[in-house]
Symmetry: C2
Subunit: 235 residues, 2 copies
DNA sequence: AAGTGGTCTAGACCACCGT
DNA sequence: CGGTGGTCTAGACCACTTC
């Protein structure tokens, strides 16, 4: 994170959040930013590109760099994986670990996680609350060769934070499949809804930067509270 | 689209689809690609970056560029806006235009489209089928100052194609909010489902490259057929 | 140690927007 | 036409993986 363009992107982002450009909705020009940060054009453009991808700003050729005024409040951001705690603030999220055990991968999971059948996996079932309302039911599998140890205490907090900060794993990217499925009896009970009502469901496959799959999850969301946000581009 | 890095990205993508790297799952090195296309390092890196964003490949520092083996078959891709016809093939999609008229923007829509109250808008309601199964109900509003003319014939095909190719509009990016909502009586009938069942719903706001909003839509999807795909990154 | 991707520089020229 | 972003080049050095 100590590379220049990431630091500059972060500083610009903080300026935006602090309201520095609130009046004009416009950032300094690329040239001005080069002067401000004493770096080359391409470094500025890398920083800007990062902010464009994060949905903070957009660029108009010949005109300038403008602030993108999309409220991200209350939405689960699909572009950038951070975990619920980071997204909403750890104090709003409570987690109950319902099951946590080591299992051996069967054919179906091996297919998804591209691992051998019989590979040891952590299987974790959690119920997570937001502002004390049942929010999601989550089933997840972690490859024990990559994540050698998880206990209840860790699973009650953020497993992603644990993986990144304690295990120093480099998480790279994730595939997410999103669909709607009728709730079964158990899940409807857990979420305080009725059987047969819809659920917003997300299936995640998480890859390390080296391309290995660390975990897969199925997340069943309470449709009353869960809203996702995605920022698309035309190509 | 005639810029070098986009052309190169397209060629590499076609090679991938054609199965050129199927055995190794690995692309040539950046250096080799520079030679192959006779361009500079940064042009190759721009092309590669584009393919990374599209979820085609991933890079591992010190190791190489690898093919990302995610099946995109049958999913609506959230990253890149193309319209259903392009996504699934125009022959699989049929569209029935249920309503098409010019209205004046009220407070609620003006808020969403950041236009003045009273601005003329096209209001279009469509039912779209995939493989002859009812797939989505769509309500959309187009700013008439930007899209001055739409008729039923156009709305039966792809409005996006019309905007890009006939009107030469430069579509830039879009916000998408995704949630699940119980179907009302009318929509359940239209989709051949039961009232109260869930629906996967997407609210789109589409921006031109200059930051103006051309249209907003609410798309109610048949949960039995609609699956979305999103590719996330850790930052 | 060799190979390969990641960051950064300095500079040139092009394309588009607004006055 | 001046201002501003978009593309491209050539080259240097760093960081990580692999052997």
């Amino acid at each position: 994170m100590e590379v220049k363009y990431k630091v500059i992107a972060k500083e610009i982002e903080e300026d935006i959040i602090a309201g520095k450009y609130e009046s004009s909705k416009k950032l300094p020009t690329v040239e001005e930013l080069m002067d401000i940060y004493s770096v080359s054009r391409s470094t500025i453009r890398q920083a800007i590109k990062r902010l464009v991808e994060m949905g903070e700003i957009y660029q108009v050729q010949g005109s300038g760099i403008f602030i993108r005024q999309t409220s991200k409040e209350g939405y689960i951001n699909l572009q950038c994986m951070r975990g619920l705690g980071v997204e909403f603030g750890a104090e709003r999220i409570k987690t109950k670990v319902l099951e946590l055990k080591v299992i051996k991968s069967d054919e179906e999971i091996s297919e998804k996680m591209k691992c051998d059948i019989g590979t040891e996996l952590y299987y974790i079932k959690r119920l997570r609350y937001i502002d004390n309302e049942p929010y999601i039911v989550e089933y997840s599998y972690y490859n024990k060769e990559i994540v050698p140890y998880i206990n209840t205490e860790i699973a009650e907090k953020s497993i992603y934070t644990y993986m990144a900060e304690s295990l120093k794993l480099h998480m790279g990217f994730a595939d997410k499949v999103i669909y709607c499925e009728p709730l079964n009896y158990e899940h409807s009970n857990m979420l305080g809804l009725n059987e047969g009502e819809g659920s917003l469901t997300i299936e995640d496959t998480v890859f390390l930067t080296n391309g290995l799959i660390s975990n897969t999850s199925k997340v069943i969301c309470n449709y009353k509270y869960a809203k996702l946000l995605s920022l698309a581009n035309f190509n």
